[in-house]
Symmetry: D3
Subunit: 110 residues, 6 copies
């Protein structure tokens, strides 16, 4: 793990995006909230937020960070779900991995 | 998740309470440390403390917080177990959910 | 922990319920999906399902169980949110604690 | 969550693949085990295996499954890291999500 | 991870022991339940049981196992705390690591 | 849990060591990276780092701490594996338990 002890605490913000392609039929079911597993986009959003908070637990060399904000937007357009994750913190290292982890897990959930 | 990045870091403290009602026979067994599962109140106390530290993992929109203190008192009186959880931190948001989660999980453990 | 090694594997099912009372204003915001934190009932449902899967991690003397089904229904009526959790498994011990943990964490999330 | 209680226990196996593209310089550092964070491919492999075991914790509607085997291969060729994850179980539902989660987290680790 | 898919399910049992040496003063405080952190042996016992259930999460190449029984005994004698952990399961692989992890974490807790 | 709220935030650093003895044959297999489970020392290193980040989850009365650095060195000499774990933070309490947990889990992994 990189030692970040000597770095200043600064405001950090990262945004990551994942895209899930699907058949028109699946996209229609997701759009109508009619998929067999219920509200797919809402579930993906929560899964992504939770995953961001577990980033240091998943990625061995990541530092545990306090997060002042995490959100995942899940949008369906043109038969694709676009998951946009944003993470913010005041810390000695960045939140790129947190945003990428949130987007990836939200995409897996879809 | 609410963005707390712009809020000042202040001292926070929260106390929550849960009550478990039981039959007089069960209460007597708990009181004598004689329940089939051993020291019920001690186990509940540890479970509650551990749960407080996992609050952000359990409650999707909670922020991960450093905790400077958590404790759970478990008292038996009048055939009821009263679980009183207290959490403290210096952070940008409060520890109400941490105290409530500790009290709830301690009560489930009883 | 009770040794369940000698017990037969049977079908198990448990249902637990938690009720959250709130002011009429809060209930109206929850009903319209208009609360500051978004879709409260959907988030509570996911949090409860996830908590059921972590029961053995939260409650010290619970056995880890494979779960064949978990669900949490969140219904708003008369200004109260009623959370009904159900868990099922084929195992050597019951899923009462899984259902109760799901209902409790879903209620905390609300 | 889909109720799988009525399904037979069968042998299940799934393979998933993720690809990480990188600059020739980064690829050379990874190949020589000379990257600033050490043995990148070995770390990714362990992170993927661990993530497979946490799939039900990450993906809200996944069932917890016993896994009889998980592995992640990490190969570098043509300046790309290819992560191939395999999971196996005897269970009532498949391990596709376990393999995909392992591949995705291994890729994030790279 | 070794593939255990082809192995038969059999009864498994393992016992592990850890010893913590301490000064006579510390031992006396532990014996009287008077240590600054309260009931040291009871807390160690719970920590060990919880750790056994998390073995596959801590040790990368361990299989996740259902456990039918875990217990940790903590005994103080001759100024030493002896932690004896036992784990049992019906599975395709053994519970040696579960017992060793329980004993080690119980010892760390002391 | 001890209340550390009133203590100043200072730089903290701890080092812990664990030793695993083994037969000359096992040591030779570890040395050549030829053990049945692959790169034993690399896997132990990652397991130890991950365990340090989970210390507060494993040891009931430990405070959750941000860590600015964790590393585990695994060295084989004279037929023994020596695991040296180091943890650093800026916090209100020390990282002794984090270093000891990292060394212990790395040793269990070996």
């Amino acid at each position: 793990m990189v030692d970040v002890g000597g770095k200043p605490v600064t405001e950090r913000r990262a945004v990551a995006r994942a895209v899930v392609r699907m058949s028109p039929e699946t996209a229609a079911a997701v759009a109508s909230g009619d998929a067999p597993k219920g509200d797919v986009l809402g579930t993906a959003r929560i899964a992504g937020i939770q995953a961001a908070k577990r980033t240091a637990d998943l990625i061995p060399l990541c530092h545990p960070l306090p997060l002042s904000f995490v959100d995942v937007q899940a949008d369906l357009s043109d038969g694709r779900v676009v998951l946009t994750a944003e993470a913010r913190t005041s810390a000695q290292t960045g939140v790129e991995m947190e945003a990428m982890t949130a987007a990836a897990v939200a995409a897996l959930t879809v």
